[in-house]
């Protein structure tokens, strides 16, 4: 039980990092989606129920700090987690590199999804801004994901989380 709370605290710390430190480390006004990287990593490494629960928590934290429609990440993060769990039964995702590549594609998919949502809400964003966000965010998140993966492994090793 205590270990679950510690993992929740770790996710909260990652969301804080995203909202504070990475606001000053933007790449062409784009921030990495560290919580999405966490969701993908957890979907690969944790048991399905735990992964879904923690991806839901990640979604709550992301929506809590964000200014967009509340609930979008609460829906999206468990959805990606569920799809990755399904995918991991068909192909092996145990390799770290496979996980990192998956983060890149899931990030692109998520941004396309959000862009469609904005379009249906009548919010217009130029193609230049859309492509800039979609591509740079995916690259930035992928570049930062080994750091998240390493921190997560270090954390798991120290609290002996299974």
């Amino acid at each position: 039980m205590k270990k679950n709370w510690l993992l929740l605290l770790f996710i909260f710390f990652v969301s804080l990092l995203e909202a504070t430190v990475f606001s000053h480390l933007m790449l062409f006004r784009t921030k990495p989606d560290l919580l999405l990287a966490m969701v993908v990593i957890m979907a690969i490494t944790l048991k399905p129920n735990q992964a879904l629960l923690f991806s839901l928590a990640s979604g709550i934290f992301k929506d809590m700090f964000g200014a967009g429609v509340f609930g979008i990440y609460i829906l999206l993060f468990p959805l990606w987690c569920f799809l990755i769990i399904k995918l991991s039964r068909k192909i092996s995702l145990d390799n770290d590199i496979a996980g990192i590549v998956l983060i890149f594609f899931v990030d692109i998919l998520q941004n396309i999804f959000i862009r469609l949502g904005l379009l249906f809400a009548g919010i217009y964003i130029t193609w230049y801004v859309f492509l800039k966000i979609i591509f740079l965010e995916a690259v930035y998140t992928t570049v930062m994901s080994p750091f998240i993966l390493k921190s997560y492994k270090f954390f798991k090793l120290h609290i002996k989380y299974k």
Partner: protein
């Protein structure tokens, strides 16, 4: 040998001193810039007819699809949802959520936020909204609208809580809609929204 040791110790001592001085210099530079910013805010606060709450930016929206700030003041300081947020340079955004000690501000470069605005020179009306990039878009300008590059854009006072005449930015470009029925203007915001550290919340 004795001299070598004496010089070595002296060198280490001087290196430590340089590190300390460098740190002190950095801190002093940071304080100097903070002092400069706060002084400008104070001058503006004294001159302005509005009542303000000064607050510090403590976080930003983690999402790339919206633009928001988190400030260190909330309901306990009198900040409520809908209050307008500015700096001495111009409009920043609007309070969308207010907790006890923190508030969330949606910035003008967020596409979800629309502000009724006018061209200061010709009083031509339009709607300014964000584009998630460094610039804003002023829409619904008629084809015959009198608008030029470098014109100042200010709030019209028609949107709830926004006082009339707050500077939003200057016109950087003018274009025509795909339909050909209206024009739009690209606005360069007067406030650098990416580097905000302190903001003023207007109490209506």
């Amino acid at each position: 040998m004795v001299f070598y040791h004496r010089n070595y110790v002296q060198n280490q001592k001087l290196k430590k001193e340089i590190d300390n001085l460098r740190r002190a210099f950095n801190e002093a530079t940071e304080i100097y810039f903070e002092n400069k910013r706060l002084k400008e805010l104070l001058i503006f606060k004294k001159k302005s007819p509005y009542r303000f709450i000064t607050s510090r930016v403590i976080g930003r929206d983690p999402d790339n699809w919206s633009a928001a700030l988190i400030i260190d003041k909330g309901k306990s300081s009198g900040i409520k949802k809908g209050f307008v947020c500015i700096t001495y340079l111009g409009l920043v955004g609007r309070v969308i959520e207010s907790g006890d000690n923190i508030s969330k501000i949606m910035m003008i470069n967020d596409p979800n936020l629309g502000v009724s605005a006018i061209v200061q020179r010709s009083r031509q009306e339009g709607l300014v909204s964000g584009s998630l990039s460094g610039s804003l878009i002023m829409r619904y300008l008629s084809k015959e609208s009198d608008i030029k590059i470098n014109d100042n854009i200010v709030t019209s006072g028609l949107t709830e809580n926004y006082p009339k005449g707050l500077l939003i930015g200057t016109v950087a470009g003018i274009g025509e809609d795909l339909s050909g029925l209206s024009r739009y203007a690209i606005i360069h915001p007067s406030v650098n929204l990416a580097t905000l550290e302190e903001v003023l919340v207007i109490i209506p």
